[in-house]
Amino acid sequence: AQSVAQPEDQVNVAEGNPLTVKCTYSVSGNPYLFWYVQYPNRGLQFLLKYITGDNLVKGSYGFEAEFNKSQTSFHLKKPSALVSDSALYFCAVREIDTGRRALTFGSGTRLQVQP
């Protein structure tokens, strides 16, 4: 079975500072990994994904994430946070080697960027 852990319910950071939102995963085989953002009363908005290749993935709005196979992690990062980045962030995984294409999500991390 596949699973995702987001150990922090909330991350607080000052505007202009770097931010990190943590994610670890568990799959039997090789993973596809995703980050989504959710604003109030909105659906899930795609940020970035890791499929294969370079471990550092760049996505929308200046976000990036680093795939670390040995630590089974896929932390989301941004060099300089904006107040408008305040939202709920979800990490998700899908196992490549099975026919099960559905994503499994973590519990979410609320990012609060203070001005």
Binding site: N41, F46, R100, A102, L103, T104, S107
Partner: protein, 111 residues
């Protein structure tokens, strides 16, 4: 391209009543998913369709939830009878080789 359409956006019902949600995926996407997102939690898969066939419904509470995807295009999810714990946002998503797209969801409140 147009996104995944869901309706209604909001629904309030009393417990033991029935309710139905509708989803129209992105044109050409063969795979469709329904997720339940309870407040403060991540989305949880209820059911996955490939065209009009069910691929995975292992987490669907089949005594009260049902879903169908006739003709392999749009889909409906039904709850009958609803319980208080069914209060959640119900997200529909569709996927292709290139990725997943989520609708805005239906927020269900059971009182």
């Amino acid at each position: 391209e147009a996104g995944v359409a869901q309706s209604p956006r909001y629904k309030i019902i009393e417990k033991r009543q029935s309710v139905a949600f509708w989803c129209n995926p992105i044109s050409g996407h063969a795979t469709l998913y329904w997720y339940q997102q309870i407040l403060g939690q991540g989305p949880k898969l209820l059911i996955q369709f490939q065209n009009n066939g069910v691929v995975d419904d292992s987490q669907l509470p089949k005594d009260r939830f049902s879903a169908e995807r006739l003709k392999g295009v749009d889909s409906t999810l039904k709850i009958q009878p609803a319980k208080l714990e069914d209060s959640a946002v119900y997200l529909c998503a569709s996927s292709s080789h290139y990725g997943y797209t989520f609708g805005s969801g239906t927020r269900l409140t059971v009182v």
